[in-house]
């Protein structure tokens, strides 16, 4: 059985430590890592820049929309679905 008190303590500790900003920083890195992982193994060749994309768009837009104009060769499965 799960120890619910311990679980609640962990949740409470999380919310004491984390803020909207730290969450968004985590999210930014998470989505970036997932985007890179989706490309598979290999080496990178520079074909464009993402530095001008606002952070908010980077976090919330599907990757194929995000990169459509900047990195036209990049595609990604963005099918909306519930589970694996």
């Amino acid at each position: 059985m799960i120890d619910l008190k311990k679980l609640e303590q962990k949740f409470d500790a999380l919310f004491e430590q984390e803020t909207e900003e730290t969450f968004k920083n985590w999210l930014h890195n998470k989505i970036l890592k997932e985007a890179l992982a989706s490309m598979g193994k290999g080496s990178f060749r520079e074909i464009g820049s993402i530095k001008d994309i606002p952070a908010k768009e980077f976090i919330y837009n599907p990757i194929n929309i995000l990169f459509a104009e900047n990195l036209s060769t990049l595609s990604c499965n963005t099918q909306y679905a519930m589970a694996a």
Binding site: M1, I2, D3, L4, K6, L7, E8, K10, F11, L14, F15, E18, T19, E20, F23, K24, W26, L27, K30, I31, E34, A37, S38, I59, Y60, T78, Q79, Y80, A81, M82, A83, A84
Partner: protein, 169 residues
């Protein structure tokens, strides 16, 4: 850990070789974050195969026994459900003040998981309502829950085995 064994179902595309273990989801919209997903009902696993696992034109259903004694059960356990709701809503209020509705639940769950909240939890069970019309009594009214578990600890999965395959539509 108390033993609560459930027979559950895992759906994948049919590939050249059958699986000997479940595949961890990479789906960016998977509700419960990164994990090994199983369906409570075989018909929901089948419906998912027919309608969503279409990459090769065929899907496969696997079955396994899951020890659910140490999962967060938001479907059948009221205390678990209340805790779950409390902290998901707190996460929305704390982290997504202006962007409510713009982020999938996956990332909230992944955040909880990566920050260690679920270190002692083997998985999370959750439900919604299926869009399968076979379960309509009247149009758009579903009497049956569609239940899934995301398993974080592979150790609770035993007797994983191929069950059947089918053609997508």
């Amino acid at each position: 850990m108390s033993a609560l064994i459930r027979e559950m179902y895992h759906t994948q595309e049919r590939w050249r070789t059958q699986l000997t273990a479940p595949i961890q989801t990479k789906n960016e919209n998977a509700w419960l974050g990164t994990g090994y997903y199983f369906w409570y009902y075989e018909e929901d696993a089948t419906w998912w195969g027919i309608t969503a696992k279409r990459q090769t034109g065929y899907y496969e259903i696997y079955q396994a026994q899951l020890n659910c004694g140490n999962i967060l059960d938001t479907v059948f356990n009221e205390d678990h459900y209340k805790i779950w709701m409390k902290y998901v809503e707190k996460a929305i209020a704390t982290f997504l003040k202006k962007e409510k509705g713009s982020l999938s639940l996956k990332y909230i769950n992944d955040f909880f998981k990566e920050k260690g909240v679920f270190d002692d939890v083997d998985g999370v069970m959750f439900q919604d309502i299926t869009d399968n019309p076979d379960f309509w009594i009247v149009k758009k009214f579903q009497y049956k829950k569609r239940i899934q578990i995301a398993v974080y600890n592979l150790g609770i999965i035993t007797n994983f085995a191929f069950r059947f395959e089918g053609k997508c539509v």
